[in-house]
Every structure is written in C-alpha cells, then in structure tokens.
Symmetry: D2
Subunit: 409 residues, 4 copies
C-alpha cells in the first residue's frame, strides 16, 4: 500500500462512495478531498456537502462543481461530430462523462496539493479504466486508489455491515436491498446494468426505465422540431438558441416525452467480458439522427466515408477510456476539420419512439444540386455520356482479369 | 455504334423498357432477347411475355425467371451477415438486386449466343454502373447498350411521343403524367426517387409509401417475434423454418403491418452527385437489428470490431456495383468465416415503427458468461486486481509522455 | 468540340507539347498561353520561351515559373509527413508534382482570362486524371483539352509527320526514334515507363538510369549524414539549414552518388491497368527512412499506428489525383496535427544503395525512456507485476470462449 | 502462489531457464517437464537433455522437438502472405515463433497431465504476452508461472548468486558478464536488445551482428536468383523445390552472404514502452520483396489495396501476441483467399545489402496486359476517350462543391 497524504475522491454522496470515504480515512490515514460534479444526473448535490462535513472533511476540501455546460460543449458535442456509436448501438453516455471527471479531479489534486485520487468504480467494469487512464495521462505520477480492487467488501452485505459499524447513514432503499440495477446518469443518458439484467435472454422490466415513457405511453400526436447546426454542433431548437447543455436538456425532455432512446444490448467491455446494459439516451438519439441528416447535404461523399471508416475506432477509443490520448486528439483534429461546412437545419418528426427526418437544408453549405440530380431534363448540367467512360475504366481491371482467365481456359 | 447481333434486354414489361425494346430493334436492327425476373417486386410477370410477343420477340427468346430464393439466399443474406448499411442509414435494397440481374442476363446471353446486353437505367444513377460492372466482370467482351445514354428521348414527353408513334401501348397512368416518383422494388425494399422528392427540405407525402403503414396507423398492440439464426442467416421465425425468401417475405409482412422500415435520406451516388431517396425496407430493418443482437452474444469482441471497421467499405462496394469484384469476394470470405458461431435466437418486439430487442441467447455459442459479468460475488471467476496491471500498462505510454513533457517544463 | 477562347497549356518546350501547341491553335483557333514550370527536372526553361515565341505566342502569354521551393515545401514535405508509399514501394514522385502544375495553370487561367486548360498527358495514364481533377476542383467550369484523347496522332510516326508538315523543329533524337522510355522528372524523382520496359519479366537496362550510379559503381567508402527535423519536416543536413528544395537537392546528390533509390515495379494505375515503371528517387528514399526513424522516438505508438493505417489510403489519394479533394485535406489535418512533436535528428549511413539508420534522438520530444526500457534493474520505474493483470485481462475474452467451447464438448 | 502439480517449462538449456527450472522445483515443489524446441536457432539441443537430467527431470518428461518445418510452413509463410511488417520496418521474427512454442507447450501439458506452464520471458517485454495469450487461448484454465515477474532475482548478480548457490553450472561467458545483448534466434531472424543498445542515438557495434556480413564485407559480384511461388508461398529457389524450412534456410544463407537484412530501429512494445532493437532477417527480407513482386502482377488492384490497408493491423496482432485469437484467424481467411492466384516467379539480384527485383512473371495468373499498357498504338484494346467520362464523373462532387461555393461568393 502506497503512502498517501491527500486524496481527491470522486464523491457522489451515496452509500458506496461514503463507505469509500470512510475507508480511505481509516486505511490510508490521509486527508480526503471530496469532489462532486453536476453532470446533469438530476440529483441534488448539496446533501453531498453535508455528508462530507459529517466525515470531518474540511470545508475547503469539499468541491461541488456544475460541469454541465463544459460536459456537453467540450465532450458530448465533439463526440457527436463523429456520429459516434459503439458496436453499432451504444451512444457512449457513461464513457464520455468519465474523462471530464478525471480532468477535474486532477485539477483539484493540483490545486489542493493532493498526491492521490480515488473513485468508486469496480474492478470489473470500464469506468475504472476510463477514470485511471485520464488520471495517468494528466498527472503521470499520481497515486490511484481503487477501493473496489483493494478491499474485501465485495458483497452488498459486507458493505452494509461496514457502513453500519462506522456509523454511515444507510437509506431505507439500501436496507431493502438497494436498486435492482447498477445505474449511472448524466445529461446524455442513464444506464442500467447488473442484477435483474444479468440474463440477456429475459426482457427488461418496464418499471426499470426512468427518463422515457414507453412508446406505448407516448403521446398519440407526433411533434415536429427544427434543429439548427453550426460547424457540426447543435445551436438552436425551433429557432431558439441556447447553451449546449440547455439544448441537450431540451432534447431529453422531448425524447423522453415521445418514448425515444431506449436501448437494450449486450456489449463487449474493454476488460474482456460481455455485459448486458440498458440505456436511455433520449436527446442523444435525436441528436445523432439529426447530425447525420445535416451532414448528408453538407459533407463531401469521400469525407463522409472517411469519417464513417474511422468512427468505430474513435468510438472504441472513447469507450475504452482513451479520451485524453494523443490518438483521440489526432482523430478529433480530422473530425473537427470536416465540420466547418456542417451548417444548416434539420426537421424531425418525433412519434412514439421514432425519430423521423423529414427535411434538411443549408443556405450556406448545401452540396445538393437539384439541377444535376433531377430526373427531368437537366439542360446539360450533367452529360450522361460521361458515365460510359466512367464505367468502362472502373470495369477495366475486372475485364482484363476475366479475359486473362478465359484465354487460359 | 457497335455492330450488334443479338441483345439480352432486362425487360420489365413497363413503358420505359418497352420503348427500349422497340428502339433496340429499330436502331441496332438486331434480335432481342427479353429477360424478366421475379425478385419479389410484387408485380405479375406474364404480361411481360405477352408484350414481348407483340414486339415480335421469338417465344424461345423470352425468359421469365423466378429468382426470389436465389436473391435472398445468395445476395441478401450474405450482405446482412456484415450488418451492411451505406452511409449510416441505407439498407442497399436496390444495390443488392442488380448483381443478380446482371449475372442472369449474362447467363442468358451465353445460352442464346447473344453478343450484347441492355438495361433501362439512366445515365445519372448508380444502377447503370451496377449492371455494367457485373456484365463486364462476367463477360468481359460483351457489348453494352445503355439507351438512356445514347438516345435523345430525355424527357417524358419525347418518350411518350416515341411510344405513340411506334404503337407501344401507353397506360392511362403514363398519359396522366406517370408516377410522381421513380421507383424500384424487390423482396428487400421499395425505393422512391426523383420528382416530388427533389427538394430535400420538403417532407415526403404520406401517400407515397406503399409497403408500410405509417407508425400512426400501425396496430396499438405490440407483437413479439422470435428469430432463429444459423451461421449468421435467419432460418426460422417463431419456430417455423422456411426458405430464405419466404422468411424475408414474412418479415416484410410483419414490418409493413407495424410501420417499420421507412427511411428518408440524402445519399451520395457513385457518379458524384447527392440524391434524395425514400425507402421502405420493413423486413430488412428487422433483420439487421436481430442479426446484430445475435452477434452481440456469439461473436468475439475483436472480430465484431473488425467487421464493424470493414463494413462501410463493404457497403460501398455493394452500393457502387462491385459485387462481382475480387475485393468483395475477399471480404466475404472473412465475413463468412466469422459467422460459423453466429447461432441462436433473438426476441423482438414490434410496435409502431420500433424494432426493440428484448432478449437473445445461444445454446451452442454464447460468449456471455454470467459468472464473470455479475455485479455480485463471483467466487473468484474474475480477479479484480488484474485490472490494476491492465490499466497501468495501458497507461504507460501516456505516463511516459506526460513525464517527459513535465521534465522539459 | 467546345468553343474555346484562350487556353493555358502546360508546355515543356519539347516535341510533344510543341505539336500540341500548334494543334490547339489550328484546331480551336484560339489564343494559347504557355506555362512552363521549373520543378527541378534539370532542364533549361528559356528555350521554351523562344519556341513559344516562334509559334506566335504573345510575350505576356508566356509564363515560366520557378516552383521548386513551393513544390518541395508545400507538396513533397507534407506528403512525407505521412511516410507515404503507394503499393508498398512507389514514392509518388510524379503524382505529387501534378497538383502544383494544375494549381498554377488555373491561377494563370484566372490571371489571363483564359477559359480552357490543356496538357500533354495521354489517355491511358494517371497524369491526365491528376491534372484534370485539379483543374475541376479549382475552377469547376473550366474547359479541359486533352489532345491525346482527341486527335488521331496516336503513333510516333503520325506525330512526327504532323510536326514536319507544320514546321515544328524536330531534334535529332526524335528522328532516331526518340527515347526508348517515357520519362518524367522533378526534384523528387525521375521515372521511366513504356517501350523497352513493357515486358515486366525482363531486367531494365543499366543505361536507362540517369540520376543514380549503380550500387556497384558507388563509392567503396560509406558516408554518414545527420538529418535534422522540425515538426516532421527536414530542416538541416549535417547542421546546415537550407530551404526545402535545397535540402532535397542535396539529398538527391548524396543518394545519386551512393546508388540509392532505384526502383523497378509493376503498379496498378487508377485507370485500371497494370503498368511497369522504373524510378530513381535518391533523396526521397533517404528522407522516408529518416522520417520514420525520427518518428520512432517522438511519436506515440497509437498515433504512429493510426498514421500507418491511414497511409495507404492517403497514398492512393495522391496517386489517383485527389490532392485538391476535401478528403485529402482532412487526412492532412490529422497528419499535420501529429507532427508537432516530430523534432530531432537522425544519423544515416549511406553505402552502395543502402540507407542505414544508425542513431536517432530528440532533445525536446523523445519518448524513449531508458530508465524504463532497460534490461537492468530499473529501480522500480516499471513494475513487472503489472504485466500479469495486463495479460490476464487481454486474454479474458479468449479464455471465456475456450471455456465455453470446452463445456459444450 | 497457486498450487501447482506439474509444470511444462520452455527450456533452452541456458543459464536463465536453468535457474528457472531449479527455482520452479524449489518454489512450487512440483514436477517439471522441460520442452526444448528447434526453431532453427542454430544451437544444439541435446545438451539441454543432459542438463535437464542433472536437475532430476524424468526422461519421459524431457521433450526436444524439431519444429522447423512446422514453424516456417504454418507460421512464417502465412504471415508473409500478408507482406507483414510492424511499424514500417520490423519483420516480426521473434513474434511469429512464440505462438508455436505456446501451442506445443500446451500440447505437452495435455499429454503429460500438467496443470501449469512457465517461460523465461521478462515482465517488460512482449514475449511474456505472446506466450501467455497463447497458453490462455489454447488451455483457458492453465496456470501460468512467469518467474521474472515473481522472483526477486532481478539483477544479473542475484541470478548468478542463485545459480552458484544451487550448483547450476555457469559458463565462462556468463561469469565474464554475459552477452552484451539480449538475443533471440530462429529460422526467420536473430534479434539483439538491451545493454549496449540502450542508447538509441549510438550506432550498434559491428561485432554484434551474427548472421550477416556487413554490406562492405559482402562479395563484390552480384548474384541473381529465381524464386517460384505457388498460392503465395515460396516453393522453389532457382528451380529447386524444397520444404518450407529448407527454402528459408537457403534464403538466409544467400542473404547472410550478401549483407542483406540488418535492421536497427526503435519500436513500440505492447506493454507501453519504446525499445531499441537490432535484427538480422536475411531470408525474410528477400522473401518479402519477392512476395510483393509476384503479387504485383497477379493480384487485382483493389484486393492488393485491401491487403495493404489491413496489413498494419494484422502485423500488430502478431506483434502483440494474438496469433491464436479469432480476429487473426478471420483476417487470415481473407488473406489466404487472395493468394489463390499468387503463382509465378520473381528474379532478384542480391548485392551488398540490396535486394533488387529485376523481373517477374506468371504463366497462369498474370494480370499484366501489354496490349493495353503499351505506349504504342494498341489497336483499340483501350479507348482513350473513356478516360474523359471517367475523370468528369470522378470530379463531379468537387465541381459541384466549387460551384456552390462560388455562387455564394
């Protein structure tokens, strides 16, 4: 066990991280700095301060930050510029929040002179990797304490016993067994894993979902919205410009109302196992669809294809925790370069789980040329005879091969 | 103009290809062989025979083939093994039919001793490329006649005038202006392009859609179905084994009923322009979702990621018409190799445009190991401490870099 | 034939482009502007002026530009930042010159109010594509005249007859049959194609090579040189800073002397055929080796691998003529981003065709950490036990798969 | 420490693995099975038997296998079908031997009922990963003992002290400090790392190299050889058919004589650090060049480019130890599929470090068509006018973009 003076703990105020707080104090005999972030998870943060004080944390060692705008502007939006999805389905809602938490934790460590950081992620999941790769990239000599990999409180019973023994308040829900899921939430999504979901053959219970109504329960009337983009980022909904996080919050509201963005999948974790996860990403689901639509008329074909070819790799980087890596930054340079022309609007119809693109245009950057695409007489804008040579030369290598084969019999 | 003896025409029996038939006879003074294929487009084919006879085609020169099973088994299913989508959205319904038509046309050319082939695709679209690359790959010396690139009947008026002059029967609908869309259909989809759709900012009319009800009009009750896969191919629905084309037809029925598979997009054509297209792919939309789901528990992570990385390239090959190319066959060899373990079942919920995966399992090939993935005590199946070294070494290069940077100040 | 007022011709002053000049005047009855570029091909350019005047070209319509610095700085060096090689071997010496010629021709067209451009590349090669894609990208409405695709002077005899008939001076070498090769030269390389090389089974004649001595004829003593790089570009040789083109000229001198940079290969042209080419790229061969070496200690592993993965695609873009495309610019943005840390020096040993890296270092950006890499005791800089968990988790998915297989028997 | 009954040790008979043998006996109190492989490293193996006996190993527990043919035929050749190089330079000589050793060790473990395996690779290198990923993939429950990560004999002094204390014979060379390099050899290469090489700025000493003369010391006369390929594999040299390992041995002899295949580089290890390595790969260097050459006339362009795009990824898989992974097998399926037409011969000139391709041909599979590629009149085999349309349509998207931009001003 390393010698630790001061540790910055990513602290939610909940049972698990409260036990960690106490365990850190006891085990490392060190000063603890708590850091609680508002990423739009929808919980009040002030109770975390009160709890921290109860553990004897110095007021100047309690950090509660509203990171919502930074989160959406500098993490979520850059990711959506790439139309990022992991394994064809997952919108990376948890993955994209971790690098920001790690960054802020390290900033606080520098500000408070701490030599260690700690988090509440388990030893089986992706989050420990995402947190710690961030820590190490930003502060290579930092000591990292991952209690779930160190202690022996590996069952819920042991955890509760430890809490009880150390006078950590246990809410009624925990006494009753706690949530039947492991959950994580931020402005982009809420996720559910574990327990009731551990059989991938069984349907998730309707009662699990939190942010969206079921498609069945959504309104019977469709709703149209207009999204406006500048340089690949959403800037306005229905003509109303807002800050990044306000826009995403509004999309969440719309998506949640219309039963949009539920997902139930089996994914491959970076640590090597398959895991079943359920996600609600109402706003992100709308945003992805819309971003692809605005790109469809403003992006050159080969640029779009290049992005599509790189996207799964970029998604894996984020999923695996490499946001702060040089390779992620290099790909981001390419992606951001391509978004200069991604300006315009998209009209969407939202209805019972469906996000339907009904129109898209760009006054400044449309590459759609109706005078060429038309099925009617185009007055010479396009010479159909050009296609003859185009096809002949594209076929040449195959014709040569077939000829050679035929000659040899 | 080349000297042509006998030409095999891809003949639908409709106005356009009837005009082409006549024009070929007049322009090239050559014998015409007609080939009409049933790909599940939902139209009767016998009328094509009658019309061909009216043009003086010899009965032995009239070929009407039911290619539905071959189409789905040897073209659609191999493509779905790769989870193929073009530009993030398009399911390639038209693209995948062309190589089969080209192949059969060439077979007929060989059987009838024809030296030329002809088709009714325009000089602006992708289909001319798909047909002709197929022709050239399979019969490198064949002469290709693409009337739309040769003649001067480039407006609907001229076409109708030509038909009238040559006694080609014109149905009422054509006199009234014809369809407001250019359409193509087969068992995988029906597509709409052109005319009313040429403004990508305007919503498509509800009356356009043919195969699917609108989500609004779909049943209020969801329907669950079970799909069974063997080696990556669908083999049974709700326990009932059917032939490939019967399965897809059944999925189309289910999807159409539940408002599934509509798509409205702007795509990039191989010939260099953007084009707006609307598609209905009810069965394919269900199939893609289900195939991904069965892969999610039966495919190794890195194999799945390799497939995802190659998919856009494979999709472009098919979109651009390179089905018969050696590079498509090479990728197919890889894809088919990966599908050996893709066996199992997927449960789906269909509801008003939504295809929701609710469960998946494989008795023979599941890689999901609940004893490892569990959030509960796993009795040592997984050693959480392993994650420490895993993260440390994955972070090493970034730590070295950050250290080096820090030392230099 | 389009109506042309004024055409800018890429004019070398040689026989072929002189015939073209005359043919343009006669065929299009248009004003001709000649453009002759010094790209380091090693020929005097003033004779081109005299010849142009003889054809009645107005002095203000004769452009002779020294583009050597721009060529190496803005085209060759950016390409080498990516370690670009086409098909594993070819250093793209011809390909990279074409976009600059096209750019300058279009600039001159704008400056002189010309509506057309013309070049002397044949209809079988890559150069026509490279020129014309550049023209169209930079001036989409420009008329392009490619005489070799239009006229009927397709044999050497007809060309000479035309020249004779129109009083175009024919040098003795042409009367004697001309060069046995089709050649192209600039500061990066000289190429040989065609004629004597058309049998790929036969060895090229020693007499063909121009810029390099044979390895056999090279000095018996090796020579060491030090190359210094800044942001991925060569900036000094043996401590002497020079301009980009001076550096490359110096490397050519060194390489030529030591028999470095000959290449004999069969390549795949963009127009669909295979072609045998021989190349001398003395300086480029040295530069590529050195650039990889400096990157080896200054570039992060994953960034280097990302570059390697993208390199063949980038090479194809340049080979195929897409320098001015948006996708090439997007990849360049990524590449240039990665080169910020590529600073340092490389020591090379040149000897009879060999370029041998003997040392490399970077004071400012080395990522080589001897305290970690050492085989000796590293005083805890690296914890070997970390490797245990690293391997265990990287193996996990394979272990799960093997276990699952074993269980099923 | 796990409970081990019987362990299979990869045993060279040298000092390090002898210490490991003894240490295993003492530490784990278990039966040891020794496995010594002939991979063409050029050392006698029988002394290993004698030593093992001295340690009390039962005769039936001593395995000495000649794996040379299997090594080259089933590992080296499949890898060369992909033209594999890691980081642009390294021919993977060590990497490709490890999976075979791992496979054989597991076979012996199964045959002898052993529950553990052990190797002598350190905790800093790639080889531990390559061995252990192989073990785990082939026998997921096997116990792995990596002494270098467990014991405290981390300096040479401690190792020698341990040997002395336990009566392990120490050769004079070890007493004198041992080799100044860490070396590994097999039929594909010999490698040097560590110690004298730990400063990447300093040139390697001439005395280090073992298998090749220096280019300076190589014969003054060049030597021509003909290599014949079938399905991508070398089958004969100068008309003489031999077994795989005999062919490679012959190429090593030729390359070594002519100073071919030395390499000095800094590479990125999988465990995250940069490392300087020197390699001699005489035969492999010749083989790679020749394989590319035979592919250049027998492989379709797009297939070749697909292989080039995948090669770095395939190389990383092998370098990182994933030979036995499903993703490596999937790529191999693609690669092997492409090699069906790679038949023919290549002529090479070997001279003082140079491998020069001078000719290549294939009677059965050449795609080089001189009637099309010719610069002379081709009698209509290729219609140059086709290039016009080819270029126009390839330029279309760029023209549309430029036009759109111009219109907007």
């Amino acid at each position: 066990m390393s010698d630790v003076n001061k540790v910055v703990l990513a602290y939610s105020g909940g049972l698990d991280t409260s036990v960690i707080l106490k365990w850190l104090q006891d085990t490392y005999q060190c000063e603890v700095v708590t850091f609680t972030a508002d990423l739009g998870q929808g919980e009040e943060l002030e109770p975390a301060r009160a709890k921290a004080l109860q553990f004897g944390i110095q007021p100047e060692n309690i950090f509660i930050d509203d990171l919502r705008e930074e989160f959406v502007r500098d993490f979520v939006f850059p990711m959506f510029r790439a139309n990022t999805i992991y394994e064809g389905e997952y919108l990376l809602g948890t993955s994209i929040a971790r690098p920001l938490i790690a960054k802020r934790q390290i900033e606080i460590a520098r500000a408070t002179g701490a030599d260690a950081v700690s988090h509440g992620a388990t030893g089986k999941g992706n989050d420990q990797v995402r947190f710690e790769l961030g820590y190490y990239a930003l502060m290579p000599g930092v000591k990292v304490i991952a209690p779930w990999r160190e202690w022996d409180l590996l069952s819920r019973e042991k955890l509760l016993a430890y809490a009880e023994k150390h006078g950590i308040p246990i809410e009624m829900k925990h006494k009753q067994g706690g949530s039947p899921y492991s959950m994580d939430a931020n402005l982009l999504h809420i996720s559910f894993e574990g327990r009731h979901l551990e059989n991938p053959a069984a349907e998730a219970e309707e009662s699990m979902w939190r942010w969206t109504v079921s498609p069945e329960a959504a309104p019977d009337a469709a709703e149209y919205i207009d999204l406006e983009f500048e340089q690949g980022d959403l800037v306005a909904i229905d003509g109303k410009r807002m800050k990044a996080h306000e826009l995403l919050a509004r999309l969440n509201e719309l998506g949640g109302k219309h039963g949009i963005g539920r997902l139930d999948l089996v994914e491959n974790r970076y640590v090597g196992m398959k895991s079943r996860g359920c996600y609600e990403t109402p706003g992100g689901t709308i945003l992805l669809r819309a971003h692809r639509a605005i790109e469809s008329i403003t992006l050159d074909r080969e640029v779009a294809h290049l992005k599509d070819d790189l996207m799964p790799r970029y998604a894996s980087m984020i999923y695996n925790g490499y946001w702060w890596s040089p390779e992620r930054r290099a790909i981001q340079a390419l992606i951001d370069h391509t978004q200069q022309t991604v300006n315009g609007w998209v009209r969407l119809k939202l209805y019972k789980g469906n996000v339907i693109v009904t129109g898209r245009d760009s006054k400044t950057d449309s590459l759609f040329d109706p005078t060429i695409a038309t099925f009617e007489d185009d007055a010479g804008a396009y010479n159909q005879k050009d296609a003859h040579g185009f096809i002949r030369l594209n076929a040449l290598r195959m014709r040569i091969a077939a000829n050679a084969k035929a000659k040899r019999g």
